[in-house]
């Protein structure tokens, strides 16, 4: 698959603060690539260097075959940017902003469709300053898409969106990807990254600490499975003997088993063999959130 973005050895400092150090990754065409990390990790700095909005101190960046530092104007025409921090003039109306940016983008999208899709039709004549935070955010995403970009950068796109609007945004992003657009997504929402991203880079302290598919990350860093059920058991040693089980414990009549691999199936069959059929047998798998907390040193 064609590489759309390649970053090699990116470094960026602000005075004495090293915001990003030795970051390297590639993004393939049509991929949704996520950047996850705690506040101040260097995500925004990274994506803004890639978009040519900040100049890298060191490293090579190529986006759609262009150098963001020197071929900025052409790059801008071919990418879409929803910036974490930006604004429009307070008194500009929603339709005016969409129309202005559309007429300046060659081969632009039909802006009334975007306005409709991002739920802004009712706010067509409202001024930017009068929009709610979530509405402003949706306008920014719509504006990032007016030029039918080949790659789109979304920096905390769903911040401030209500749960319903967030789901709509997710499905619109999937649609954009179906059309072949590459998406780079910075987010703090683990469920968003798990639901949307093909691959995720975990960034911490200006470095990429790991990069894989969400499932790959979970398997590697938080592959633990927890199985729980209620039963009156005195002896748990036979449960601990099951392949893959690492630990079995009891809290009242709640039995908790932790392990790796197909633990649920093995535990279930062992229970049935002994004539125990708990009705509340359930499994809890690790999520990206556990990976995040493990890798970025949060509470484990």
């Amino acid at each position: 698959m064609a590489t759309v973005i390649s970053v090699d050895g990116l470094r960026k400092t602000y005075g004495s603060t090293v915001a990003v150090r030795d970051v390297s990754f590639t993004v393939d065409a049509g991929e949704i690539f996520g950047l996850l990390g705690p506040n101040g990790a260097g995500k925004t700095t990274t994506v803004e260097c890639v978009q040519g909005l900040r100049r890298a101190d060191e490293g090579t960046i190529t986006v759609l075959g262009l150098d963001p530092a020197t071929q900025t104007a052409e790059l801008r025409r071919r990418i879409g940017s929803q910036l974490q921090e930006s604004a429009l003039p307070d008194r500009i109306k929603v339709w005016e902003a969409l129309e202005l940016f559309t007429t300046l983008a060659p081969g632009a999208a039909h802006w009334p469709t975007l306005m409709e899709q991002w739920g802004l039709s009712g706010k067509r004549d409202a001024t930017f300053g009068s929009l709610s935070g979530g509405q402003q955010q949706r306008l920014f995403v719509a504006l990032a898409l007016v030029n039918e970009p080949e790659a789109v950068f979304l920096d905390e796109m769903t911040t401030g969106l209500d749960p319903a609007a967030r789901r709509v945004a997710w499905s619109l992003i999937r649609e954009i990807r179906e059309r072949g657009t590459t998406v780079v997504l910075v987010t703090h929402l683990m469920d968003e990254a798990e639901a949307l991203c093909d691959r995720v880079a975990i960034v911490d302290g200006g470095r990429i600490v790991d990069l894989d598919t969400p499932q790959g990350l979970i398997a590697r860093h938080a592959g633990q499975v927890e199985v729980r059920f209620s039963a009156h058991l005195d002896d748990l040693s036979w449960l601990e003997a099951i392949d893959g089980v690492e630990r079995a414990g009891r809290r009242g009549n709640q039995v908790e088993i932790a392990g790796r691999g197909p633990v649920l199936a093995l535990v279930a069959s062992a229970l049935v063999e002994r004539g125990i059929a708990p009705e509340d047998l359930r499994v809890e798998r690790s999520t990206l959130e556990d990976v995040f907390l493990t890798l970025t040193g949060g509470p484990a």
Binding site: Q51, R54, S86, L88, F101, N147
Partner: protein, 251 residues
């Protein structure tokens, strides 16, 4: 060019939606004109006002003042607020060229200054018996040169200061100095030598002389043209050096 036309059109609409700014920009020179007209009338006195009637002196001077207000108060406040709030980033990231954003500010300055001047002339000619310009083309030429020069100074102020507040403060301070000592306040003939020297150092002094000469029939003043052009070139140069063409982007 299309980018400039579109952004200018939008900026003009935005300006119209700021009733307070419109009122102050267009109304303040009128108020000053009435006060001074009420005090001095329009009878020529050979000792002051370059020997012409006070109102004949003040009308072209106020055209200069309108241009100066828009250039050093309005434009920097607008531009630095855009920069501070991230509007410039938004525009630049959306392929609106930086030169079009700045160009639109300049166009708005020129258009509004033009409307303000027309209003001023109309009101002055209705209420006082002012002389009309000896040469309309020269006045228009002086107007555009002055407008461009003050726009350049405004762009400099708007990009040089770290915050919008600082840019606004500096702009207002300059405006008061220019207003009082630059020839739009008391007649320069009554100022002390020191005050006159300060006034002569302000660009508005030269814009006013350029406009007055064209208006009052003293012809096109090449010395003032040169000075106004030097202010413009200097402002452009310093702005380019200062921002290294990276206004709206981070270092």
């Amino acid at each position: 060019m299309r980018a400039l036309a579109r952004t200018t059109w939008v900026e003009l609409k935005l300006f119209r939606r700021e009733p307070l700014t419109v009122a102050v920009t267009l109304g303040l020179p009128l108020v000053l004109l009435f006060v001074l007209g009420g005090v001095f009338g329009n009878t020529p006195d050979p000792e002051v006002y370059r020997g012409v009637g006070p109102m004949d002196y003040y009308v072209p001077a106020y055209i200069g003042l309108v241009i100066a207000s828009l250039g050093i108060v309005g434009l920097p406040a607008h531009l630095s607020a855009y920069r501070e709030r991230g509007v410039l980033r938004r525009f630049v990231a959306s392929s609106v060229p930086m030169w079009a954003v700045i160009g639109a500010q300049v166009m708005v300055t020129l258009v509004v200054a033009f409307l303000g001047s027309v209003l001023l002339i109309t009101v002055a000619s209705v209420t006082y018996d002012i002389h009309f310009p000896s040469s309309v083309p020269l006045v228009v030429g002086g107007f555009f040169l002055s407008g461009l020069s003050f726009s350049a100074i405004g762009v400099f102020l708007g990009s040089a200061f770290p915050t919008a507040r600082a840019a606004q403060g500096a702009g207002l301070m300059l405006w008061f100095v220019m207003m009082i000592l630059g020839g739009a306040g008391p007649p320069p003939e009554v100022l002390t030598e020191g005050m006159r020297a300060v006034g002569d150092a302000t660009p508005v002094r030269h814009v006013i002389l350029l406009l007055q000469d064209a208006w009052l029939g003293f012809g096109w003043n090449w010395t003032e043209t040169l000075i106004v052009a030097v202010f413009m070139a200097g402002a452009v140069l310093v702005t380019i050096l200062l921002t290294r063409g990276r206004l709206g982007r981070e270092r």
